[in-house]
Amino acid sequence: MEDYLSLFETYDVLAAFWINIQLSFWAALWALAIGTVLALFRISPIPSLQWFGAAYVNIFRNTPLTIILAFGFLGLFSVLQVSLASDLNDSLFRIAVVGLAVYHAAFVCEAIRSGVNTVPLGQAEAARAIGLSFLPAARLIILPQAFRGAIAPLGNVLIALIKNSTVAAAGSVAAEASGLMKTMIEFRSDLVIPIFFTFALGFVVLVIPIGLLTTWASKKLAVAR
């Protein structure tokens, strides 16, 4: 037990989790923004935009995140020499955020589209009847209801995003939780089980409340029909 507690003096586990939370937070914001635009593309009347949205979703949903993040470091950072900050490690952190956002945007798009599917036909027809064209109808009538219907699937995307932030170690952010866990086990292989459960419980504590919250919110905010 003392051995176990001494681990926390040597390694800053909370700092590692904090990095995962930051990664997830920024990636979630960007993924939500990109995903909403993509969903608009996919339900828009313009064929080229529909096609673009569908192509984006099919490409990024079917590519392993590991490859996307490796590509972020090797492609964007190394070869294309994209720098997103003057400080090297900030730049790598932001590139990991971009990789996570780009990947999860495809799922956000699909979640919102499934939300759109919960909006009854009559709503769109009523919007058209009062003379709203596509963008106002989407902004005022369809999307507000669609977002409510999409809360549960969006919550699932957020949970997946938090867990997937561990893959950032494969890209370039080595200080996050999975990287630290690996280092800790390599140095203290006698404590492999307590170390694993520490990190696993950390994620349980992060993820389960989000699941409960989104389930509650999706019921609370559901459009009464």
Binding site: L74, N89, A174, G179, K182, E186
Partner: protein, 280 residues
Amino acid sequence: MRKTRYAAAAVAAVAALTLSACGGGDSAESEGGGASGSADSLRIGIKFDQPGLGYDEGGSYSGFDVDVAKYVATELGVSEENIEFVEAPSANRENLLQNEQVDMIFATYSITDTRKETVDFAGPYFIAGQDLLVPTDSDITGPEDLEGKNLCSVTGSTSAQKIKDQYPGVQLVEQPGYAECVTAMGGGQIDAVTTDDIILAGLAAQESNAGKFKVVGNTFSEEKYGVGLPKGSDRCEDINAAITKMIDDKAWEEAITSNTEGADYTYNAELNPPTPEPCA
């Protein structure tokens, strides 16, 4: 035309594999097995992804570790075609030996007292030192020039951490492999890569990197590369004799030169070639 046909055949093969994958999971045969104890064949652990030392060329293996392994095996009476090379990633080396999955390991394996508790070592057959790889036109000559520069190494590597502790102004980037570091340095985003000098030389000697990088040649540690053996192995004396013979008949020198060609690298002549340490 021939090449297109190959490509077409390969695409067909992929399609076939994909189809069979949908068919279910009956293809799960386990590979590997116990190490063979017989003296006329050997299972040797090497790196598969370390160009210039141990590298899987696709069907054949190249590098300095591989050349030394082949020479030693021949001296032990095992011909080249009876050697089976097995991948020995750094994290697995002790386990591979303890479970006798391999007969010996040539994989940039430094002799240390901690490791000696669980495995035996023959050699050393090379003494490497931590060094820096920099672009050819760089003016970095040692770790003291790294202040404010971007340094890349492999995740969890102690060598990079040492520099970081000594020179806090260094920006350290950690990557899964040195290849990633070298790619980033090729793009100009990284100023230096650090690890053992011969590993750096092997990376710089790759065809695609030829002429782009140089090894600084200012080593600041001593890593004795040994031949890892299972505890209590009786092969140590024979291996040491083989290494000495390899050094004497210049095959050792040749192996280093041919594997680091184009890297602008010379090994530390004060320490090399080494004299094998007496066996335990």
